[in-house]
């Protein structure tokens, strides 16, 4: 076979939360929280990624990436609206958003997931945020059903 173009990059950072993420609102909404992405799930960082904090995945060089995430959310009330975002350097990526209406039983979760392309500059960080959209509710993102995958597709 023939290789055409730039070298193929084979690196990925894949992390799962260590604990459930709970976000409670008072009389005003929304409120948000950041997942603790500290459980390594078969990452191959290959010198292109590191983990500067529990909530952040960092690209060490400029690159094109594919980002995929999924989570499942429950609540203390039925039909509690939530949104899930990927953050780049703490700012929401608008087209990363997914969400739904969580239920109040742990056996009735609601799934949210997405996959998209994103360009990262050197030292850009990626985090996963959950937003509780309604007042006086608690939304819980379930750690065992949550994952973030950042794939390095091309170096820039």
């Amino acid at each position: 076979m023939i290789v055409i173009g730039k070298p193929v990059i084979r690196a990925w950072a894949q992390y799962q939360p260590s604990t459930n993420l709970s976000v409670t609102t008072g009389s005003t909404a929304p409120a948000s929280g950041i997942f603790n992405l500290s459980v390594d799930r078969e990452s191959k960082l290959d010198g292109l990624f590191d983990k500067p904090s529990a909530t952040e995945i960092r690209a060490l060089v400029a690159m094109n990436t594919r980002i995929s995430f999924g989570t499942a959310v429950t609540s203390n009330v039925n039909n509690s609206g939530f949104g899930i975002y990927i953050l780049r350097n703490g700012a929401r990526i608008p087209y990363s958003v997914s969400g739904g209406r969580a239920r109040n039983r742990t056996v009735e979760p609601y799934d949210a997931n997405s996959s998209f392309r994103l360009v990262l500059a050197a030292n850009d960080t990626i985090s996963l945020e959950m937003v509780n959209l309604e007042t006086l509710n608690t939304c819980v993102g379930v750690a065992a059903r949550t994952v973030v995958l950042v794939e390095a597709l091309e170096l820039l």
Partner: protein
């Protein structure tokens, strides 16, 4: 970092659920899905299909796995979990969950994309885990499993 001398193998196994599948039983009941309908796979000597349920890697490799599952129920808000098994063991990063509705016109969906490493002859399966004890129907037209070869070795 990737080596310029390494060619990228173009291989993927992509299968769909054979028919709508009803899953009865109490909470905790599991079922492995019959993913036997080939949807434009290019196995290219890297994958095969030893059973209707299993996609097998013939070499050691890293793969990107993507699945989507559509679900219906006989009651509203019937909880379920979807996961990928590697040689019968749950891949932790594969787990997603949601709840199904009783109206066939109100479907529910779970999807994930993740990476995992396989040794030669390890196989992947798609499993449903019931979180409640009512009826679940997995929808054939809404269920797909894609395994892409990402890197050999």
């Amino acid at each position: 970092m990737g080596a310029g001398s390494q060619a990228r193998p173009r291989a993927y196994a992509q299968y769909q659920l054979a028919s709508n599948t009803n899953i009865a039983g109490a909470a905790g009941t599991t079922a492995i899905l019959n993913m036997s309908i080939d949807r434009e796979s290019t196995l290219n000597g890297y994958f095969d299909k030893p059973t209707n349920e299993r996609i097998r890697a013939l070499s050691a490799m890293s793969v990107r796995v993507t699945y989507g599952v559509g679900m219906d129920s006989n009651v509203n808000h019937e909880g379920y979990e979807i996961r990928v098994l590697k040689n019968g063991a749950v891949v932790p990063q594969s787990v997603g969950a949601s709840n199904a509705r009783a109206n066939a016109a109100e479907g529910s969906n779970v999807g994930r994309t993740f990476m995992t490493n396989l040794t030669a002859n390890q196989y992947l399966e798609l499993q449903v885990n019931k979180l409640e004890g009512n009826g679940l129907t997995v929808l054939a037209s809404g269920t797909l499993l894609l395994v892409e070869l990402y890197e050999l070795g």
